[in-house]
């Protein structure tokens, strides 16, 4: 491996400042109530990066916060949902009120687009979405979202071609990383492996910074090698209030509270952003306000019991 380690550790403020620009297409990590990169979403809101296009499979809190903070121009995803906690309400509201552009795909279609991006091929086929309104109804035609061609090897077989997707930058919260950016994702990995490898830049926050010597003796544990990663941020609880496998369970109370505010919208929602983002000097302050030490301990204990 590296004779000399490339040190990519940064603080979230510098990482977002350096690697994210207005107008960027941002790949969003996590799924539903699991391993959402809350830390980085908060920081983007704080820095008011604008005109963003958000892409991913099942997007939840990160997307909803950025849409709610009015920083999003467009979304391309498979779903906007917190599962049993409901739809992503600020996103729903933005669509119902024509505040954003949106392009619907199936989850496999989005994962396939990232795969194509990660392999450097311009498009990739799928056999999903045929016969449905995912192909027939479009909200905007600025970008051609797919093509249907005939399979050259099988007469009269329609095949959907999907354009490759290479986000300008992706934000991810992982369990572990070393300072050069070798990252370890434990449990489900959803669309992240393909999305990370497809992205032009990647910012990773992690629960725990690990030694590079450990990395060299556990190649089977490494999810993504350092060459795809640009910034590494150590931030315990960086995925709160969603769960991080092996570290802590999701906080139902805070997710329900967020959903209540997001559904109500207006002043109630902007108060939420004020209290939990704009008026927090640090991510730790947000954690203390929203959960507190005892709750965090309980969420950790609850996870440990399930391993």
């Amino acid at each position: 491996m590296l004779n000399k380690i490339i040190d990519k550790t940064m603080n979230p403020k510098d990482a977002v400042q350096e690697f994210i620009s207005d107008g960027d297409t941002i790949g969003i990590g996590g799924q539903s109530i699991g391993r959402v990169s809350t830390l980085l979403a908060h920081e983007i809101v704080r820095q008011q990066k604008k005109d963003l296009t958000l892409v991913g499979c099942n997007l939840s809190l990160s997307m909803d916060l950025l849409v709610g903070a009015k920083l999003v121009k467009r979304t391309e995803c498979g779903s906007g949902s917190f599962e049993r906690f409901g739809t992503a309400f600020q996103w729903r509201n933005a669509i119902q009120n024509n505040l954003i552009e949106f392009q619907d795909y199936s989850h496999l279609a989005m994962a396939s687009r990232f795969l194509a991006g990660s392999l450097g091929i311009p498009f990739i086929p799928t056999k999903s979405m045929l016969g449905t309104d995912l192909l027939k109804k479009q909200n905007t035609n600025k970008i051609n979202p797919f093509e249907i061609i005939n399979n050259p090897w099988q007469k009269d077989e329609p095949v959907v071609l999907l354009p490759a997707l290479q986000p300008d930058v992706s934000i991810i919260h992982a369990q572990m990383a070393d300072k050069s950016g070798n990252i370890i994702i434990e449990g489900f990995t959803t669309h992240e492996p393909e999305m990370i490898k497809a992205s032009k830049k990647v910012i990773v926050s992690c629960e725990k910074l690990i030694d590079s010597e450990f990395v060299k003796s556990h190649p089977e544990k490494i999810s993504i090698p350092y060459i795809f990663i640009d910034a590494v941020i150590e931030q315990p609880l960086g995925g709160y209030p969603t769960s991080v496998y092996n570290y802590y369970e999701h906080d139902s109370d805070h997710i329900l509270y967020y959903q209540e505010k997001a559904r109500s919208g207006g002043k109630e929602y902007s108060n939420y952003l004020d209290e939990y983002i704009y008026n927090c000097k640090s991510f730790e302050e947000y954690i203390q306000k929203s959960a507190g030490t005892n709750k965090i301990k309980a969420l950790k204990d609850s996870m440990l019991k399930l391993l």
Binding site: Q31, S32, I33, G34, R35, C57, N58, C77, G78, S79, G80, S81, E83, R84, T87, A88, W91, R92, I95, Q96, N98, D104, Y105, S106, H107, L108, A109, A111, S112, L115, T126, K127, S128, M129, L130, G131, T132, D133, L134, K137, N139, P158, V159, E186, G187, F188, T189, T190, H191, E192, P193, E194, T242, S243, Y245, E249, H250, M303, L306, L307
Partner: protein, 262 residues
């Protein structure tokens, strides 16, 4: 004599009976998860549970509430990616059974989970396809568990997110969908409806105990065809016990209200 059960219990039990041993089953959480685990504990011990998020063949701990729940990762053989599950298993053609849900199900078993009203100016925007379109396009057999309400069974979906038989018996084939003629079975708290391969439409094949054809028709906006009016078999004591003691012991999904005494 079987102890009391609800129609929700029986809906889940009837779904579990559709799963055969060694089936590869793509499941999220909720009632489909309950039905799958019940099958695994009863008659399908070698069933392979695959979660969209990438976890393959876990020993699920009761009772998960999300596809990201650590309870669906316990002792998994592999923590893969969404592409592994939906691409490498499902689109690859290996999924025997997939479960779907949705806000609207029409007479061809097309499902809407995207929006109510006009797509570009929706009255209510819903979460979207997620993996549902993929599941419906590729699985060999599709199961839909849903409570039976009129608004859930319109004549036409406002938006077709996941394909049923589209518009007739050859609808899927004509559209180029890989799984051309799957069984599609809708199991509700009132009845079981299945796709009739001749018309591509849902027909009532079984009724829940104490439910009449008229009850179903009253609660369905399209006019369901009727193939039979036999009853769903009552649950066995073992089905009920396993369901409530092992699969959903905390009553997260199935409360013990409104029992039917047999």
């Amino acid at each position: 004599m079987v102890t009391s059960f609800t129609l929700d219990d029986l809906m889940v039990i009837e779904a579990s009976r559709q799963i055969q041993d060694e089936n590869i089953v793509l499941v999220g959480t909720g009632l489909p998860m309950v039905a799958s685990l019940l099958a695994q504990k009863l008659h399908a011990p070698k069933m392979c549970y695959v979660v969209e998020t990438g976890n393959i063949a876990p020993e699920v701990i009761p009772t998960p509430t999300s596809v990201c729940d650590p309870r669906v990762m316990y002792k998994a053989i592999k923590h893969g990616s969404l592409l592994d599950s939906l691409g490498g298993i499902l689109q690859r053609g290996l999924a025997d059974i997939a479960f779907l849900g949705g806000a609207q199900i029409d007479e061809y078993a097309n499902v809407n989970s995207t929006s109510i009203g006009d797509y570009s100016n929706p009255k209510v925007r819903l979460p979207g396809s997620g993996g549902a379109n993929d599941l419906a396009s590729h699985a060999k057999k599709i199961l839909i568990i849903t409570r039976h309400e009129k608004r859930r069974f319109p004549k036409n979906c406002d938006y077709i997110t996941s394909p049923g038989y589209i518009d007739g018996p050859e609808g899927r084939k004509n559209a180029g969908i890989p799984s051309k003629y799957p069984d599609i079975i809708v199991i509700t708290n009132l009845c079981v409806m299945e796709i009739d391969k001749k018309t591509g439409k849902l027909v009532i094949t079984k009724l829940m105990p104490s439910i009449s054809i008229d009850d179903v028709i009253t609660n369905t906006d399209f006019e369901p065809l009727i193939q039979s009016s036999i009853n769903v078999s009552n649950p066995t004591q073992k089905e009920i016990d396993t369901l409530h003691n092992e699969v959903d012991p905390l009553g997260v999904y199935l409360k013990k209200n409104n029992p039917i005494n047999n």
